[in-house]
Structure formats: C-alpha cells, structure tokens
Amino acid sequence: MPDIEYILGHMNYWLFTVLMMTGLYIVVAKGNLIKKIVGLNLFQTAVFMFYISLGKVTGGTAPIFPVDMEIDPSVAYSNPLPHVLILTAIVVGIATTSLGLALIVRIREEYETIEEDEILKIETDLVHVENKILGEAMGGRA
C-alpha cells in the first residue's frame, strides 16, 4: 500500500501519465483531423515532460560551467542529457505536426471536409463504385 508521500514523490510520473493518456484519448476519440493532431501534440509533450523531469536532480542547478572553469564539487547539477535529447524530439514533433497539418490542408482540398466520419463515408462510397464497375468486369469472379 503506497503511502501519500510515495504518490507525491512521484508526482512527475503521475502528471506525465495523465497528460499522455489525455493526448492518446483525443487522438483515438476525436473525429476532427486537426483535433487529432492536437491530441498527438499533447501526447508527445507529455513524453518531453517525462524526459525533462528525469534529468532533474533534487537541488541541482543548471549544468553550466562557471566562467573560471573551477567546479565546486559541493554544487549539484541537473543532468543535461535528457534536455538535449528533448530538443531533438521537439524538432521531430514540430516536423510531424506541420506535415500533419499540411496533409489536412490537402485532404480538405480533395474531400472538402476534415471530419473523419464524413471522409470515411466518401471513401466507402468510392469502394462501392469501384466494386460495382470492376466486380462486373471480372465476370463475378471478384
């Protein structure tokens, strides 16, 4: 039975989990393509937070060398590596978002909607038409 201190002590993980699940839920549940991208962003951001909180050392300061390069061993520094990694991940995230939005623009041009169910209906109709034409040409073999 974890006590309250344990729960609070892992606050960053709780927040990460809640944020991540919220994002994932939006991606799955929302029919609007843009909202899906927003959900995806939340989801990714949660992961960024997770990484950054990993690098935090209690009482640690920013990992920057003093100007005189003399390091005081009593000073604790936070781990810089996760931050650096997340810089890369943020760039990837932005690229993904912009590509996703660009695709939505093109989808809007072609389908004249960005609602998933309407797109699905258009595509189902397309398949029906295809099957009707090409199925008959197959002589019933399709």
Partner: protein, 511 residues
C-alpha cells in the same frame, strides 16, 4: 571468434560506417538546392549506389563475426554516439541499399505517370531522406539515435505515400493515418528509451546491455521493454497493429511501395531484433516467457487471417499488402521460436521476402503504368500483351508461395526446420498450411494475367528502365533460392551475433 576494430580515424575506409548514411543524407538537400529536375535523379542514383557499394564492403568486413565500432566525431562511447556494424546490421544495410539502388532506375518512368510533374525533384529528396533514415536506424549503436533516424525515415515516408494523391485522393488519408499511427509508435518507442535511460543511465546500446546483464532487470526495464516492443510493433505491422499498412501500400506510388515494402518494415523488424536480443538479451527474454506465448499466437493469426483476407482481394496491390502482413507473421514466428535456427530463418526471410515483394510491387507498377490500375478486372490478360512483366510477377509470386528453387522456399525450409528441431509439430504444419493460402492468392493473379483475353490488345510492354530492375529482382529471387551461400551464412552469423548479445565486444567500449 570476434575481434573488435576500435576506430582510429585515418583513411576514408575507416569512415565507411558513417559514410553509408552520410552520402545520401548530404545528397538529399543537394537535390533541393540545385532545384534541377534533370540533376535530381543522377544525384540520387549515384549516392544510393555509393551507399550500396559501401554496404557490400562493410558486410565483407564483418561476415566472419567481426564488429566495427565507429565513434562519431571521435567521442568515445558510451558518452559519444557509436555506429556499430556487425553481421546482422551489415546484412540489413545491404538489403536496404540494394533495394534502394535497384528501385532507382525504375522510378524514372513510374513516377512520370503516378506523381505530378512539379513534385518530381522533391520525390528524390524524400526518397533519399527515407533511404538515409533507414540506413541510419540500422547502422547506429545509440538508442536515441535510432529514434531520430526512425523519424527521419517515417516523416519522409508519409510524404512519399501522400504523393500518390495524383492517382487516388485516398493516398492523403492513408498518409494521414500512417502519420498518426507511426507517430504513436515512435513516441511509444521513445518512452521506452526514456525508461531504459532512467533504469541504466546510458543510451549506448552495448552499455545498456552490459548494465542489464550485470545488474539484472528491474521493473523499469521491463516497462521499457514493453513500450519498445509495442512501439516497434506498430512500425513492423505486427498483426493487430497493422491497420495503417494496407492503405499506405495500396495508394502510395508504385515505386514507393516497392521500396517501402522491401525495406521499411524489415528495418523495423531489425530494430525489434536488436533490442530484444542484443539489448535485453535472451536470458531476459526467457525470463519473461510470456513473450513467446504472445508473439507466436499473433504471428500465427497474421499468417492465416491476413492470407485469408488477401485471397478475397480484387486489387493486386492491396492483395500484396495483406500478403506482406502475413509474411511478417513468418518472420515473427522465427523470432518467437527463440532459437538460433529460428532466428536465422527470420533474418533470411526478412531478406528473401524483401526482394520478393520488391519484385512484385515493381511488376504491379509496370502494370499500372500501362493499364492505369491494379484491379484484377483491369489487368486481365496482361500476360499476352506484357509477357515480360507478367512472367516476372509469376516468378516472384512463386517465391511468395515458397516453391522450391526460389528464395521464399529457403526461408520456409529454415522456419519449418526450426519448428521441428524443437518438436513443435503444429507450428511446422501451420507454416506449410499458410503457404497453401498463398498458393490460392497467387494463383488468382496468375489466372487473371493469363487465362483471360486482354481488354486492350494494343497495350505495349513496360519500358526497359522498369523491366531491367524488375528482372534483376525476379532473377535474384531464383538465384538466392539456389545459391544460399551469401544469405544463409550472413543470416547465421547475424543470428549468432544477436544471440550472443554485445558480450563479446562489450569490453573494449570506451577506448
């Protein structure tokens, strides 16, 4: 048996592990900067050819069990990024770069009809980026680097798939769905790496492995394992996570599909293998025996369900996409057997299925070029008007079934042998039974191609620039079905290397 060459940068030859990735990576922006449609293809072709030659050279160096460790910028691992070439990834590098190079001449005519004119230059840029990403994922020995390269290849793949929109607007939604699924997968993967980092304090794969083997696995590492397997499972299209694949393969331009089908999922499988066997190591896998009881059933379901769906398709391209899901099932089965034979079966099938599917999708592209669609109704009787294309499809189709004398047979043989070695009769029978479904779906295509009158007898054979790559692939399915010296010895070396983990080379890391 293995010796590790610790990198001391002197000559160009020493830089091969990074050059294989760097050449296409630098060529990609070059095509955009020059902005010339005429120059884009030669640049892309030459750079992929260079990567291909380097891959051959690298495989030669490591096929006897050696390992090349290359330190980026001279920073020694585990702090610096390490590129680590052993038999397993040299083999996959060769597959990726060979397919990438051979598909190149094919693209010229193929994209003319399937991609709008103004995108041609960008097509080559994206192609090169995707190529770079795939090679990078394979070459690197750094866990986070895998994620970065994975995203480079994925993002360019989404664009490439979306370029099919000229022929069918559904390419856009296919690309969008792929983007959502792919990003979720990649993010899962990166969460897994985060947990690994939290558990071990390092990102170098060899170092993580060393840490796990000395300190054992705790719950953080088990969580990492779960996230990585699920994340990669999405990219691999393991059965219930395969939903993005059929549409993406169907609506992408044919040249893209030929390239992706042969490489993208295969690279993802490689990553899965690398993490499962090298990073987490077999002891860990045996400990969580559940993996075997999850992976094998899923593989079996994929082999039968996807094959059955393939039987009922009426579009050749879509049929092949479902067949890919089924064939991935074979590979997972080989992995799930957790034995040296099973693993080498999986690796050799990864290669054999790669060349087989590349040939088939190239054939489809040639048919689409002349008939405008890959629906069975549209390609009826094409055996008469396009005999070369159709016959190459037949050869590759036979390899898909696993007829003796073709590459597909070799991998099925090894898989059945692996199952029998462990006395798993039902598995062996399942492999052959699923081949029977393959006979049905391949034979439907052959009947469509040959047993009907062509709708338009005036259609011509595909141009030589498509036929030659197609036939190189088709003939190599036969060649690798007879002469298995290269493929099997590489697969065995790779399997041994993976099963031994990094334990051999692990000591010299950090020079």
């Amino acid at each position: 048996m293995a010796t590790e060459h610790v990198h001391v940068a002197r000559t160009l030859m020493d830089h091969l592990p990074v050059l294989v990735v760097l050449v296409p990576f630098l060529a990609a922006p070059l095509t955009v900067l020059l902005g010339s449609q005429r120059l884009a293809w030669p640049i892309a072709f030459v750079s992929s050819l260079v990567s291909f030659l380097i891959s051959i050279k690298l495989l030669m160096q490591v096929i006897d069990g050696g390992v090349i460790s290359y330190h980026i910028g001279g920073w020694a691992p585990p702090l610096g990024i390490e590129y680590r070439i052993d038999a397993a990834n040299a083999f996959v590098l060769l597959l990726v770069s060979a397919i990438g190079t051979i598909v190149m001449p094919y693209t010229v005519q193929s994209i003319k009809s399937e991609i709008s004119e103004r995108h041609h230059t960008l097509f080559y840029t994206m192609y090169l980026l995707c190529f770079t990403g795939l090679l990078g994922v394979v070459a690197t020995g750094d866990a986070f680097n895998v994620f970065v390269f994975l995203e480079i290849s994925s993002l360019s793949t989404y664009v490439l798939v979306a370029m099919g929109a000229k022929a069918d607007k559904r390419a856009l939604t296919a690309a969008y769905d792929y983007l959502i699924m792919g990003t979720i997968g990649a993010t899962f993967f990166v969460i897994g790496i985060g947990f690994l980092y939290a558990g071990t304090g390092t990102l170098n794969m060899a170092d993580i492995a060393a840490h796990i083997s000395t300190n054992g696995a705790d719950r953080t590492i088990e969580t990492a394992f779960a996230f990585i397997v699920v994340g990669m499972g999405l990219k691999v299209a393991i059965y219930p996570l395969h939903l993005w694949l059929p549409n993406a393969y169907t609506y992408a331009p044919s040249a893209v599909t030929s390239f992706l089908a042969a490489t993208a999922t295969k690279v993802a499988i490689y990553v899965l293998l690398r993490f499962m066997f090298s990073v987490f190591q077999p002891d860990f896998l045996f400990e969580i025996n559940a993996l075997r009881w999850i992976m094998i059933p899923l593989a079996l379901v994929a082999m039968f369900a996807a094959s059955l769906i393939a039987v009922f398709q009426s579009d050749l391209k879509r049929m092949l996409a479902y067949s890919s899901i089924a064939q991935i099932g074979y590979i997972l089965l080989g992995i799930g057997l957790l034995s040296a034979t099973g693993l080498s079966g999986a690796i050799v099938h990864l290669f054999n299925h790669g060349i087989t599917k590349a040939a088939l999708f190239m054939g489809v592209g040639a048919l689409v070029l002349r008939s405008g669609s890959s629906f069975y109704a549209r390609i009826e009787g094409m055996g008469k008007v396009m005999p070369w294309t159709s016959f190459a499809i037949v050869i590759a189709g036979l390899s898909l079934i696993g007829v003796p004398g073709t590459a597909g047979f070799i991998s099925k043989w090894v898989l059945v042998q692996a199952a029998l070695e462990q006395g798993w009769w039902p598995i062996a029978l399942a492999v052959v039974a699923s081949s029977l479904l393959a006979i049905i779906y391949v034979w439907r295509v052959i009947e469509v191609l040959y047993m009907a009158q062509p709708a338009d007898p005036t259609r011509r054979e595909a141009p030589l620039s498509m036929l030659i790559p197609l036939w190189i692939m088709a003939l190599s399915t036969i060649w690798f079905g007879l002469d298995t010296d290269m493929t099997m010895s590489a697969a065995r070396a790779a399997a041994d290397g993976l099963l031994n983990g990094f334990s051999i080379g692990g000591t010299s890391v950090g020079h």
